[in-house]
């Protein structure tokens, strides 16, 4: 993120309450993640310690510190989805995309394919339990998902076997 864009974001958040989270949220929305250089620049500009910003960015699951792919796939791992076969969905995704998901040391599960087309994440609940198991790709929700549906769904986002 360039300095001017960051300045514009900072200028939009002048109220002290919720300021840092507001700014971090906009950075996350625009870049898809929170780049290290941006966080360091923000720390200088606001006179807020980097440790505080880093603490916030790692605390909230809304922020990611690593770049994500063109399409973000979020698999719901809430209780209902888990019972209805979310694990099978996740495993099928791993197979199709050729990735291995693993919990990183920050406790988040987020894997990106080598070609940077897809990122697979998990969520704890979408609140769409009636359609379990659910997955979301770039904000579009897919309910009653089965591993067999996945190639078709992924095909909508340019996936080819």
């Amino acid at each position: 993120m360039d300095e001017r864009t960051l300045d514009a974001i900072i200028a939009r958040h002048d109220a002290p309450a919720g300021r840092l989270l507001g700014i971090l949220g906009e950075i996350q929305n625009q870049e898809g993640y929170v780049p290290r250089e941006t966080l360091e620049l923000l720390s200088e500009k606001l006179g807020v310690r980097l440790s505080q910003l880093y603490g916030l960015a790692t605390f909230y699951s809304y922020f990611t510190l690593r770049p994500v792919g063109d399409h973000v796939i979020t698999v719901c791992m809430g209780t209902a989805c888990h019972v209805k076969g979310a694990v099978a969905i996740l495993e099928a995704l791993e197979g199709l995309l050729g990735i291995k998901s693993d919990v990183t040391d920050d406790g988040k599960l987020s894997v990106t394919t080598i070609d940077r087309k897809f990122t697979v994440e998990i969520a704890r609940c979408f609140g769409a339990c009636s359609m379990a198991p659910v997955l979301r790709i770039d904000g579009n929700l897919y309910g009653y998902a089965t591993p067999e549906d996945l190639p078709v769904i992924l095909g909508e986002y340019g996936w080819t076997p």
């Binding site: 290290r36 980097l50 440790s51 505080q52 790692t58 920050d106």
Partner: protein, 275 residues
């Protein structure tokens, strides 16, 4: 405000049936420590506001014949306050806490000894052991180091990272910190001796904080490295000139020697530079 500058009016508090004098508003745990009444605690540090994080200093407050549990570090002395420190309820609560701490910081001798002192030698919980943990599996996440770094020193080099079971304390991105003075306040306040710091040659190495290196000042007399350079510079900026020049050059020991030497010389009618 960290501590009350003006002591409150004298009050009498009752601890385990015995009466003690205290000042109104004084921290009950401080009263207990002063009166040598044993209450285990980890996260209490007199120079910081009480925080109530470790929950070990729980006592039972007797009020109108009823008892309720409270952390004695956040409890303030008031006239007629009555507490009990060793009821079966407290003992049970403590044992479970010690079991949890034994699982959270399995490598900490401090925790092990403290727990053993209260009769807890093993834990039923899964021990959290991580290979290569910069805090040596001794951290209980009480937050004293984080608070000392930012609230006392104003450095803010370290903070909590992540959340829930993945929470750790370290520098951002686990990279050497530019904000660290190398003052070692974190090392001093840590109740479980989890933080490692070592002076290696001309540098102080904060081993637990991603090997952050801070240059040290060298004594002109004996050549020993004795204090973080930047930290001494900021302290010196606030001192008078003659004192400043001396402290800037010499380590505390050499300065002591020089002072003594001057005193002796002055006694023999020699030269003295100190008033």
């Amino acid at each position: 405000m960290i501590q009350q500058k003006i002591p409150g009016k004298p009050v009498t508090v009752t601890i385990n049936g015995k009466k003690y004098r205290a000042n109104e508003g004084e921290i009950l745990l401080s009263v207990a420590i002063r009166e040598k009444i044993e209450i285990p605690h980890l996260c209490f540090e007199a120079s910081l506001d009480p925080y109530g994080a470790c929950r070990l200093c729980m006592v039972e407050v007797v009020r109108k014949g009823k008892r309720e549990m409270a952390t004695s570090c956040t409890l303030r002395a008031a006239d007629g306050l009555e507490v009990l420190t060793d009821t079966p309820e407290i003992e049970k609560h403590r044992s479970i806490l010690f079991e949890l701490y034994l699982a959270e910081a399995p490598k900490s001798d401090v925790i092990r000894d403290m727990a053993a002192h209260y009769g807890v030698t093993r834990t039923r919980f899964l021990k959290r052991i991580e290979q290569g943990d910069p805090l040596g599996n001794k951290c209980v996440l009480c937050g004293l180091c984080v608070r000392a770094c930012s609230e006392i020193m104003g450095a803010g080099a370290i903070n909590f990272i992540n959340r829930g079971p993945y929470t750790v304390v370290n520098t951002p991105y686990y990279a050497p910190s530019r904000d660290c003075f190398g003052c070692g306040a974190c090392v001093r306040v840590c109740p479980t001796n989890a933080i490692e710091m070592e002076d290696v040659g001309a540098d102080r190495v904060m081993k637990s904080w991603s090997d952050t290196r801070v240059p040290l000042s060298q004594c002109e007399c004996c050549g020993r490295y004795y204090a973080p350079r930047e930290l001494s510079a900021s302290v010196l900026a606030r001192l008078d000139t003659p004192l400043k020049e001396e402290i800037a050059r010499l380590c505390p020991e050499c300065r002591g020697k020089q002072l003594a030497q001057n005193e002796i010389l002055a006694g023999r009618g020699g030269r003295a530079t100190h008033g």
